[in-house]
Subunit: 344 residues, 2 copies
């Protein structure tokens, strides 16, 4: 496989000097129209693409740092919610945001391999995914700071929430509001946050409580999971889920079966994503936006040039943000007996 053509190649083919090629490349006026078109022709013929590394080296362009953000977009709202403040914050710190959509382990390894091999980023942001210590070491050796969002990683600063506590709180609420049999609609096993929420659920519901894992994080999957649960355990009167969309699916299924919500069955989501208020969904609110802004701020700190030589290396600490239960129309109030209708 022949290497990419350089300005030398196109200069030769066009019968001119490399400076002339450089000139047309940079839109200089000091080139005769004829020469210019000849050169352009040679460029398109050879499929020439300037080597930006060479150019930036020559022009001593700013060494703008890039942060590679790896995210599995399995739950649209969550990732968008972190992306927005993230991109804003990074831009403010003069950092470029390169987005990588990671759908599975192969994707992740391929991208990470490339990142270290080609040294294509100066900062790394992992979202909802872990990496081994060898990986961490690789990046550390290259002085590429890492921050993690929604996933604790040894030796890497991260921003997380107490998923187990959040789900436990939700489950406890259902019970206090009179639920006799609670069940959990979870998501794909791969997600750590989901597993932690499962833990939280079982810690208060008891290990024997029914669980069903939806195949995906969307309404349809949530509905299917709920149907399976209800078929197997008709006595279920409380459904806690690991995600709002799954909760919406649960709500749809419950209604399709003629079950009154929250009178006959209560439902709780997780995230408090957009429109949950409109739908009246009770849910565990997670400060998704802060995930993004924390990540941006942390990366900015870590990537800041030491103002003065011999400055001590900067560090950032992991933080755990609080979650809160938002009670709306799909749950009853804790003090109320199930015979009352809490809805106004």
């Amino acid at each position: 496989m022949p290497s990419d053509p350089t300005i030398y190649d196109i200069a030769r083919r066009a019968g001119v000097g490399i400076a002339t090629v450089s000139r047309v490349l940079n839109g200089s006026e000091r080139v005769s129209p004829h020469t210019r078109s000849t050169v352009q022709r040679a460029m398109t013929d050879l499929g020439f693409r300037p080597n930006r590394a060479a150019r930036r080296l020559a022009v001593r362009g700013p060494n703008r740092a890039r942060v590679a953000a790896l995210m599995p977009f399995f739950s649209a709202n969550f990732y968008f919610a972190v992306c927005e403040p993230l991109s804003k914050g990074l831009a403010g710190a003069d950092l470029d945001l390169v987005l990588y959509n990671i759908q599975n382990r192969e994707d992740k390894n391929r991208v990470l391999d490339r990142l270290v091999r080609e040294r294509s980023c100066e900062g790394l942001l992992l979202c909802s995914m872990g990496i081994g210590q060898e990986r961490v070491a690789q990046f550390r050796n290259q002085a590429v700071p890492i921050v993690s969002v929604d996933f604790p990683i040894n030796g890497v600063p991260s921003v997380t929430v107490d998923n187990a506590a959040g789900e436990a709180k939700a489950t406890r609420h259902l019970l206090r509001a009179g639920a006799r049999q609670v069940a959990l609609v979870s998501g794909p096993e791969a997600a750590l946050a989901f597993r932690q929420r499962e833990e939280g659920f079982f810690s208060v519901a008891g290990a024997a409580a029914p669980l069903h894992r939806a195949a995906a994080v969307n309404i349809e999957a949530g509905r299917a999971a709920t149907a399976a649960l209800l078929d197997a355990h008709p006595e279920i009167d409380g459904i806690v889920t690991v995600n709002d969309l799954l909760a919406v699916g649960a709500l749809a299924e419950a209604r399709a079966r003629g079950l009154q919500v929250p009178e006959e069955v209560q439902i709780v989501g997780f995230d408090d994503q957009q429109l949950m208020e409109v739908i009246g969904m009770s849910t565990v609110r997670q400060p998704m936006g802060e995930f993004g802004s924390w990540a941006a701020a942390s990366l900015a700190t870590l990537l800041a040039r030491p103002a003065t030589p011999a400055a001590t290396p900067t560090t950032v600490d992991s933080v755990e943000l609080p979650v809160s239960l938002v009670q709306r129309a799909t749950t009853r109030s804790a003090q109320t007996q199930r015979t009352l209708r809490p809805r106004p």
Copy 2:
């Protein structure tokens, strides 16, 4: 302002050769522990950061093309919907996606200036925003292909929908379903798509129909706009909006006033974003995902190296995707008289 320290600087300070510095930089085993720490010390002292352009030039790293995507995230769902397939498609074509959050004209010009000045991208994606012909020429001169999403631009391929036709269709439907007085809730004037939808609305509602522009694209703003409209024109019985979130706001306001929807007032949104089906919102569906995949595919084509030299320059054509009216619970059916209740 002193320029960044290079390996020469740190070599001198550590009293070693640049090759040694390079070695510790790359984690080579062939360095004595003592020398290594000396060098590392010098590096942190000087705040050394390797110049990646130089490195990539030296190792002849792959010249992976990057596409800069500029988007104003004023409507979360829309942009996320295009981002997802976009990132997937680009990754498949071995292209990097660099995201720029553009909030206003200054942002846009600053980013575009940088992009051309530093030649920091090989492909450009404009979303919901226009640029002047001088700009187009700048990028063309640098052989940076441009594609546009949701905004027609002279001389650049774009993917759009017929906003006017879509909104006209929605408006017409309300009228046929018996609406006597329709009004429009629009969004910030800056967005072309919104202006086009306004046009479509007025083309069937008549120039005298009431209009109110919400300050932002969210539920609250939609609600406020609707309130203003209803206060000024109590006879309004049909509200068409330029966006689903605004429609949700309209719905909230209508209900707050005790107006029956769709019996007393019909409402239509635009986009058909996530959860609109659950909410039962009638809306004009726009194929947002296809916007993203079209952009990725087009950029991939435009940036593809000609397989064989002297290939003809590739081109892509603009496309206009179809929109369709999705009738749900916030509108009545066209054939029905307003005295009937279309809801099952």
